[in-house]
């Protein structure tokens, strides 16, 4: 197990290098640069634009910019002149500087991450809490009315474009007035009691969670149903029944535990999309998360913000897969990694 973890983490390094190089190349291919947005302002003079480009190093070729960035990227920085010993270490990862916000990219990510992670988690929980029991029931009562209807709904849920659903949710929120129109907190949030703040956030999360979670419900339910069916038919179930075990014990202790295996892998995958999965929903529903930040950064060619969020996602994917493998090994003693 240790070897597996070390090996995976080692693979991560070349992976991140290649990905970041490619993102740099792609960003440099796009026409214009972060300063282009000022070109159409009548009161900006050419000398100023020139100065800005120099300041940002945009007058250098892309690979030079990339190496310059690479030189900056450190998991933490050391300030020898700081007053106290502990202040010399700054443990904020350094992902470079944002052209647009003129601040550390890491600060921007930290500002946006809580909203996105919270949304992803709630929609994951929603998906699992609803989908697993539904999938199990559909498998047990295969071909019943319940099974058919849930299958049909699953198809429908998988086929609705996320952004369309988000638009519908927005219309619903506006027309009924039951839900806030976008955002993560309401304007009075800072003046509410702690319980009031909790309710306020829950209220804002509800619609985006449903929009983002519906696809997940359908997906997880279908996987669960298929796995459960596979296992119900297998030999050990027959054996267990022959041994006279209670039906509930057979289902739960044997079938359910085995059927959940592939879902662990799926969970690892879901973990990887925690940061990037909500992009469209965030944009349409005006939800202040990472997706919105990255989308705007792409439009404004704020290269290092894009770079940082792609790298974060790659890291999340690798960690997600690793965690899934570990969890799999723990749930199923037959699986071993050497």
């Amino acid at each position: 197990m240790k070897a597996l973890i070390i090996k995976r983490l080692l693979i991560l390094i070349p992976m991140l290098l290649v990905v970041s190089l490619m993102v740099s190349l792609l960003m440099s291919l796009a026409p214009g640069d972060p300063v282009s947005q000022f070109e159409m302002m009548p009161d900006v003079d050419a000398e100023y634009l020139q100065r800005l480009r120099q300041e940002f190093g945009l007058d250098q070729p892309w690979y030079m910019q990339y190496f310059h960035w690479l030189g900056q990227v450190l998991p933490f920085s050391y300030h020898p002149d700081a007053a106290s010993f502990w202040q010399r270490f700054d443990f904020r990862p350094n992902f470079g500087f944002s052209y647009y916000y003129r601040t550390e990219v890491w600060d921007l990510l930290v500002q946006r991450m809580p909203a996105t992670i919270l949304l992803s988690l709630t929609s994951l929980v929603l998906a699992w809490v609803i989908a697993i029991p539904l999938g199990v029931l559909a498998a047990i009562y295969k071909d019943s009315i319940f099974d058919r209807i849930s299958q049909m709904l699953a198809y429908a849920a998988l086929s609705i474009p996320e952004f369309f659903l988000a638009l519908l949710a927005l219309v619903f929120a506006a027309k009924t007035g039951w839900f806030p129109i976008g955002g993560f907190t309401s304007v009075e949030h800072d003046f509410l009691s702690p319980w009031g703040r909790f309710l306020d956030i829950a209220h804002h999360l509800l619609l985006p969670t449903i929009v983002l979670g519906i696809g997940g419900v359908a997906g997880v339910m279908r996987i669960m149903r298929a796995n459960f069916l596979d296992n119900i038919r297998s030999e050990y179930v027959v054996t267990a029944r022959a041994k006279g075990l209670a039906e509930g014990a057979v289902m739960f202790r044997h079938v359910f535990r085995n059927a959940i295996n592939p879902l662990i892998t799926a969970a690892g995958f879901a973990f990887s999309s925690i940061l990037s999965g909500a992009l469209l929903v965030e944009i349409v529903m005006n939800y202040p998360g990472i997706g919105q930040l990255v989308y705007n950064a792409l439009l404004q060619q704020d290269a290092f913000v894009v770079q940082a969020s792609v790298l974060m996602s790659v890291i999340m994917l690798m960690i997600g897969n690793l965690l899934a493998d570990i969890a799999l090994a723990m749930n199923d003693p037959r699986i071993r990694y050497d």
Binding site: I160, F164, V171, V294
Partner: protein, 356 residues
């Protein structure tokens, strides 16, 4: 190749035998017919504007003088619900009458349309947009993009996927290693980010046709890796089978072996994998166009129509405009999803290789 055609035709027969399969097959055939005959079916061309009738609600039809007429409307205010019907007035509808000129299948010049209006009134079955273009006509033409982008995209990515996956599985070694690292790397970057970054990198000016192919290219570039991995796995298991070994001993070239022995054995899987991944392409194009980065005015696609419906005015009042392209995408995607599942059940009932 004979085996391939036999296999596909038996698969096809099996498909039609199942009710779900038959239903979606019919739906999809209808959609493709609409795409092909979009010009014939639509009363107006996609660029035909009428500034006097912007944001028009769907027009009513009425029966007058022994024929169908389109209701006449009078403008009360420039707001969405500002049109009121003029009782008993209208213009007659003509069937199979000449209208704007077009080329059937891009070849045969024609000017006949299923329905046209003879008179000053305009027929807006689904309302009009901000420059008075007919949403119904635009919807029909949008079918072409959504239905072809999946097929072309899938063809491209299946080819790349088969070649890379097949070679990797067959040769193994360094090539296999490199190819698989490459696919892992493509799969590691979040798809939508990659899509947006690629689109940004190629933001130069394009004609609508070039833009279409650019989108196909970008989507296939992202999409081939999954196929390659599946094909590699299958080739790997075929490689040790006797008929492949025999062919090797007989000195056949690797290309020939891939073509003659591997392809026929994985072909049905390829078809199913293709069908399952078509919705991804349709949704990808819709998302890109929705974000304003795909197909652009005056061309039309469903995603673009949805993005134009994002203005609150449209979705607060012109819901018909807003719902229709969304529903169209929904129906198409659900059809391909069902088709894919049915085909998979036929080919791979134990879901050994293909999972949802």
């Amino acid at each position: 190749m004979i085996r391939v055609s036999v296999m596909t035709s038996s698969m096809f027969k099996e498909l039609l035998r199942r009710p779900a399969g038959l239903t979606v097959f019919i739906v999809l055939v209808l959609f493709y017919l609409v795409a092909i005959f979009a010009d014939f079916l639509s009363p107006y061309s996609v660029t035909d504007q009428d500034l006097q009738h912007t944001f028009h609600p769907p027009t009513a039809l009425l029966w007058k003088d022994g024929g169908l007429h389109v209701q006449r409307y009078e403008m009360q205010s420039r707001d969405l619900s500002g049109y009121t019907p003029v009782v008993g007035e209208g213009s007659p509808l003509r069937f199979f009458a000449p209208g704007y000129e077009y080329h059937l299948l891009g070849l045969v010049p024609m000017s006949h349309h299923l329905i046209t209006v003879d008179g000053p009134d305009r027929l807006y079955l689904l309302g009009s947009d901000q420059v008075g273009r007919d949403i119904y006509s635009r919807l029909l033409h949008g079918t072409r993009i959504s239905l072809s982008i999946g097929l072309i995209g899938i063809a491209v990515s299946m080819c790349i996927g088969f070649i890379v996956g097949g070679l990797a599985g067959y040769f193994g070694g360094a090539f296999d290693n490199i190819a698989m690292r490459l696919t892992e790397f493509l799969m590691a970057i979040p798809g939508l980010y990659l899509l947006l970054a690629l689109r940004g990198a190629f933001a130069e000016s394009f004609t609508p046709t070039q833009m279409f192919f650019l989108i196909v290219f970008i989507l296939s570039f992202i999409g081939w890796s999954g196929t390659a991995r599946i094909i590699r796995g299958m080739t790997l298991s075929l490689r040790n089978r006797q008929f492949v070994m025999a062919a090797e001993v007989m000195g056949q070239s690797s290309w020939k072996i891939l073509w003659k022995h591997v392809l026929p054995n994985v072909f049905s899987y390829l078809i199913v994998a293709a069908t399952i991944s078509i919705p991804g392409y349709i949704l990808g194009e819709a998302a890109l166009s929705f974000l304003g980065l795909g197909i652009q005015d005056p061309s039309v696609s469903w995603g673009l129509m949805l993005s134009q419906a994002q203005n609150p005015q449209v979705f607060m009042e012109g819901y018909w405009w807003f719902l229709v392209p969304g529903l169209a995408i929904f129906v198409t995607v659900i059809s391909f999803n069902v088709l894919g599942d049915v085909l998979r059940d036929i080919i791979d009932p134990k879901q050994k290789f293909l999972r949802s």
